[in-house]
Symmetry: D2
Subunit: 382 residues, 4 copies
């Protein structure tokens, strides 16, 4: 019974995120990394249909055979996938049809969840919850991208805040050299990439209690930080130049004053807010300019109990790699994490787009170093 | 009064073409050459607002200042243009807002057209009619592209026929060598690219009364026509290979049988129907394989009174070039045709997507030689 | 006997063009349209080996079987071709080996030419002469490209003049409306694309006796000609912007003064010299700015007996298309011209890179409209 | 005096590597990652001229001012750099001129080294030695690429062996869990990326004494390893498919038998030789297929004293990241390593292309995961 409620709560939240949208906003895909909102709604539904209803629910009738092709993403073991950049060309199934698909699967799931569940099914169900929550984060940031790159700068909502109000005293926390334990070992859900709690050796470091804010980042801009290759990786410098980057994403210099597209529309940059929508390259360059560095993901995990986190995903210096003893689950579920463990950077924490209770201190998010459309942030180490 | 009715008739037809669409279908842009239907509806409206209401209608209030940026296409003299491939990323203005824009401009136009009009304004108005009719043709073929590239193959309409029923006896018409007159010299509207009726010298030729049909084209396919470079231009051969072209657009080989996406959905290829959705390269290769050739646009214009035309736009061997004495009108209107007179091929006739009375025997359509999404066709000369 | 001498004279001239080169200059291919000099030397030799020695010379031993793969260019019927842009990666066969290949084939050819020749062989031989002369033109312009894009700006030769000294009075020649004959009908060699002398109807026009010179072109630059889209085709304007073109090729603005890379090194622009190394797009834009136009190839052919030509290849307004009755020769030889008859512009005349007696008044050269590395020029019509 | 001898020994070795080349082989650059041999010869010379002679040798006359532009590579603080892919278009300076440049600088260096040297200069000199040795490795592998991608498959040398003859017993070495020290702390030269010897915590692991050989890799191929996405990273799978990779680089399947281009020409694959010229993606996929994994660079460093290494550069699972406390040297020298610490994988050991004594157990080499032209190899961990 509890699982049914949790299922319905999570499923409903995806739809709540889309409430402010017009039908047209569900359809477009401005860049390959951003998916159309309608696709997220269909794909998360396809997950429950494919991995729970089809194998475990007797007599379940697939809603539409073509949807496997349309809503699959990376699960190579489940038929052919749609080429990712084509998602924005699919006017059909319509938004209404996708909501019907959701209702159909939800009804079947609610019926299915009434019966007792095998442990294997429970695990898949919890994975489905977490999968949908990951897409909720993307859903909000993809919507922001779609609206924020429209020349009319439409408002998403007056109510969804991008900045939390808690006031934190600046300062650094000192952590002592030694052997520390890293990774998840609790009894609740975690992703496979967090597992195998293991030991790492850390050297002394001091980590900031606060995130870098827009005022500090503006100093970097005004000091010519985007024009001095010394602060940048070679690939970061190429990225700055070939994309002509001169500020965080969503910033616009209008008549000499910096504005920032937010969920509440185009507003003057809030100097006290944490800087956001910066790539790893920018985070690294900022830290270099400050004469500091980013934390490793292990330093972050050890120190994080001593500071507030959860407002911005925080870039770390760590590459996304397997923990000792990491192994993939067999079958399609096992494709979840391991196949992305190259050329990506770990982010730790959570952001204002993360659903409540979805993240934890051992959670490992990861993106390519040039990406900026998530609510990323910077915490410094010295 | 007659102009008002013509205005309303033409404006209404654009909206009728869109009647079978769902909101999502208005939004997407699968390739750069295809525009989202909502953009066509807005752009044709912007034309009347910009070239008639703003300069000539006293006290006219622009509907929305941002729309100039959003709905301009190639008219470089009218502000900055939207980069073309971005059209498919614009979820706003919404479809409803664009219909409101149309209603607003239509109301202002109807009022404006009640007063007596200067000749200059009448000419712009007629140009606006023809401009919207050109976009009606694109609107239908762009819709076909959007639906026909969707894996669900949705039906557009059961009523819109792609093939006309008139039965024509096959055979060739002989035209004698001599000096002929080419170009428009009537009193009605024509585009600037048809003007300056002038003399050309033609040599003897014989031109087919009928278009090449699917049965004949299938023979070309089965004879290995797509695999033998001898029939192709070097650039056509590169195009075939880099795009792995093996049939006309919208053809699908399913279990050994050829199907064809039509406005009425996916159907078996109709062998008696004229072949369509072929590029100039394919038209040329087919003619080479037959030991014949395509007509020049002058041959076509001289012969066309002797056969039925209007079902398929017919590729000619002629490059799109200015007629003797061609000159551009001053200002934005002059950008209409001349700037495209390089690297394109002339098509003559009309197609089932062409609005009634829009084409004429001197009409010159033009596209790049690799494009296929129009209702193109092949007529042979020997 | 005469043919042997002609053979040796032409073959030697290719090597004379290369005399000023260092070994390294033979090897590089800076862009796809430019071939390494060593490739030209090998390819022209391969032509005689493949089309004359192999089929007609009894007991001829092929010099090296791999050379067919390495030195073939576009002749699809003769084995697989090397992908064109790879030519610049082939350090072997070495320059010495290619000169040995030339010597080997020349010796075999001289022996072969001692015996009486069938007419078919004579024709192929003459075609081979003209083929090598075409490559001599490319050889010199490719060498200029290789040296002129080297930051050290090495001198090719002090002796090879780019500008002829003949002084011509400016002015226009008037040609009267009427039917004219076009195309080659002599008894000497011509290419298949010049054949079928036929009638065209020309309207009145006046054509300049002189080519546009650098002083005039500098006026166009200083008047902002490269910055005003009104003078350009849409594709020309895209080309200007995406390549950031601000002057003819090989021009460099150094400390406010224009310099020009020539075969004699980097020199101040000679204001009296004909402008050169301009694309068709630039030629068209210049003519538009002047309120004039380029001649068609037919106008040029009719008028050319009245003015001096041969210093610059002159862009015409004509697209490269087949003449009435054009037909390809069977086999590989037939691939020579017809397959390029799309998306190219005709140039008429000859240039200082053209070998003596290679061109004639009916000769049709052709290039894509954006290309500039030939000695192109502009002649105006009004 | 010892430094002079070391200088001359190292400088001479670069030229010895080039002895088998023909002039043309020095010039070409088939892909961006491979530099022309002449560029390596010039660039290593430029290093000594720029960082030692110019700042420290009184009255030194720069050999040619333009060479700074031509031979600079990534050192952004030293003037403008040549865009990397243009290196293969530079026929000048000629090979002879570059050897003259080497002789000129060598003479100046020998004179300069006779006088007593400040410690700072000594350090730069040793860095220059190591820099030239790194380029010697690239020089040989770049030469192999140039010759091995030539359709004539020229032999480099009969004497340079790609496989060492030492026979090793297969088996695994067990390493116990605990804290280990990593990084260089000796008194001789090391690169900045090896510095700051520090502690890491390792868990139990077993590492193979031998490298994977061609016989084992052939099993992977024959088992369909290149066709099963389960063994691959998502980016590796894209790389396999978009490049149509079916075997290690330089392998050719001829009439059903595998051949391998070596410095000694095209030969049947030696089944006992260690597999080489595989990307990290392939190394990872092979290990996945075996149910094992690659070592981390720390595991490798701890275990390497127990096995022979130096035949192939060994891919590790570690991303190339800074050690704790890493800091860049000020000025151009500091650009050496830190700026590449993103998106690359660490390789450990050395290869048959590594100059004697250039590598050591703490040495960290690094490349992008898709690159294959180095003598890479695979060592497994379980």
């Amino acid at each position: 019974m509890e699982l049914v409620e949790e299922y319905l709560r999570i499923r409903k939240y995806s739809e709540q995120i889309c409430e402010p949208l017009q039908t047209e906003d569900y359809v477009v895909q401005p860049v390959a990394d951003v998916s159309p909102p309608k696709w997220h709604l269909g794909h998360t539904t396809w997950f429950f249909e494919t991995f729970i209803l089809k194998p475990f629910s007797v007599n379940y009738q697939v809603h539409n055979d073509d949807y496997n092709f349309v809503f699959n993403s990376y699960y190579e073991t489940v038929g052919n996938r749609v080429i990712r950049t084509d998602r924005g060309n699919l006017s059909r199934p319509s938004v209404n049809e996708i909501y019907q698909y959701r209702a159909y699967v939800d009804e079947a799931m609610v019926n299915f969840l009434k019966a007792p569940l095998a442990d294997e099914v429970k695990e898949l169900l919890i994975l489905g919850f977490n999968h949908e929550q990951q897409h909720q984060e993307l859903l909000l940031t993809d919507i922001k991208y779609i609206l924020g790159n429209n020349p009319l700068f439409p408002v998403y909502s007056k109510d969804k805040k991008e900045v939390l109000t808690s006031k934190i005293e600046p300062g650094f926390i000192n952590i002592e050299e030694g052997v520390y334990e890293i990774g998840y070992n609790g009894k609740d859900f975690s992703f496979d990439n967090e597992l195998n709690r293991h030991k790492v050796y850390l050297h002394d470091f001091a980590i900031s209690k606060t995130l870098v804010n827009n005022a500090e980042f503006l100093e970097f801009i005004n000091a010519g930080g985007y024009k001095n290759f010394n602060y940048w990786h070679a690939e970061g410098w190429d990225w700055v130049n070939s994309n002509q980057v001169t500020s965080p994403m969503y910033w616009h210099l209008i008549d000499g004053k910096w504005f920032n597209y937010t969920l509440d529309g185009l507003l003057p940059v809030d100097l006290n807010a944490p800087v956001s929508h910066i790539s790893y390259y920018e985070a690294y360059a900022f830290a270099s300019w400050k004469g500091m560095r980013l934390p490793t993901e292990f330093e972050w995990e050890v120190a994080a109990k001593n500071f507030n986190w959860g407002e911005r995903w925080e870039w770390t210096e760590s590459a996304y790699l397997p923990y000792p003893g990491f192994s993939k689950a067999p079958g399609a579920i096992g494709e979840y994490n391991g196949k992305f463990m190259v050329n990506q950077k770990v982010l730790r924490g959570a952001s204002i787009a993360t659903p409540a209770k979805h993240s934890r201190i051992t959670y490992r998010n990861f993106f390519h170093p040039h990406l900026r459309w998530q609510y990323t942030g910077i915490r410094l180490v010295k």
